[in-house]
């Protein structure tokens, strides 16, 4: 009788212990696996993101800087307005902010989103640049950057 009681008690204790162990491990494992999946997704998106600057030119009549950038990756680049535009050279080092004011950058797309193989036209209005060489760096919201030099 004593043996049976001991066995029953030990079985209940082991089941409770197993349950506690499971309830402690499952959330941790779930969080770890979730983090792995999210990290993998972020890295995948970065691998799929690429772009190429086709042309940069300053319209000296209107002091507007024009640049055309091709989405050469396999991922939609969005939101475009969260890209970083940095202009450096000739004593200047400036992050150009997004907006429609003077010295700010705006963009136009052929479609509503910046699809692969399509072109994004970027303009910076009323930007007075002295003659010389400049380098423009564009960085996507997920951190893929490209640079291109041009002369004014």
């Amino acid at each position: 009788m004593d043996k049976v009681l001991t066995t029953v008690l030990l079985t209940i204790a082991s089941l409770v212990t197993a349950g506690m162990l499971a309830s402690a491990m499952i959330p941790t494992v779930s969080r770890t696996l979730g983090s792995m999946a999210v990290t993998s997704n972020v890295i995948t998106q970065r691998i799929q993101t690429d772009m190429a600057v086709e042309y940069i030119v300053q319209n000296t009549s209107t002091n507007t800087l024009y640049l055309w950038v091709k989405n050469t990756g396999s991922n939609i680049i969005q939101p475009v307005e969260q890209m970083d535009v940095i202009l450096a050279g000739n004593g200047l080092y400036q992050r150009i902010t997004y907006g429609n004011g003077n010295g700010q950058w705006q963009f136009t797309l052929d479609q509503s989103t910046w699809l692969p193989n399509s072109t994004c036209s970027i303009t910076v209005s009323n930007l007075t640049l002295a003659s010389g060489q400049y380098t423009l760096t564009l960085t996507t919201p997920n951190g893929i950057g490209i640079s291109k030099s041009f002369n004014v």
Partner: protein, 162 residues
């Protein structure tokens, strides 16, 4: 008896956790490898894409006819995704513009892709073949030298003066 059950349950839990971890890690790795290969394919295609403008004819200081040689080893098919960008000076000011693609008969501010020679497959601009591009500037160039930039769908460019 109880110890055996605890050991068995703990072992099972460990196996489940390890299996889940391994499966997730393996799937992530496979996915990353596939995406890396796809990105490398795109980069390889860009490296193999090249072109050069072999002639530029200007009529009336507004109509441009360009002959562009596919000097790479990849085909170009999506003409609508190509870019034609011009810079020149008209009677008023400097003009900087991206011309709009049309299938044929371009009006001012538009361009079209003309015949490809030789063209064994319709709609395909093959390596070593020449594409004729017809473009109309938005206005007449009145002074100085203009510049035209042609970009392929995968962002490879070539330029010429006119």
């Amino acid at each position: 008896m109880g110890t055996s059950i605890i050991t068995a349950v703990a072992t099972m839990a460990l196996i489940v956790v390890l299996t889940l971890g391994f499966t997730t890690s393996y799937q992530s790795q496979v996915n990353l490898t596939q995406q890396s290969e796809a990105a490398l394919r795109l980069q390889g295609q860009r490296v193999r894409t090249a072109m050069s403008i072999t002639s530029v004819n200007t009529a009336g200081n507004q109509v441009l006819t360009l002959t562009v040689l596919n000097s790479g080893s990849t085909e170009v098919t999506q003409y609508a995704q190509m870019d034609v960008l011009v810079t020149y000076t008209d009677s008023v000011a400097q003009v900087v513009q991206r011309l709009q693609y049309v299938a044929s008969n371009p009006s001012p501010g538009q361009w079209s892709a003309g015949p490809v020679s030789p063209q064994p497959v319709s709609g395909v601009w093959s390596p070593s073949a020449s594409l004729t591009i017809s473009a109309q500037l938005p206005s007449q160039r009145t002074s100085g030298t203009g510049s035209i930039v042609i970009g392929t769908p995968n962002g490879v460019t070539t330029s010429a003066l006119f």
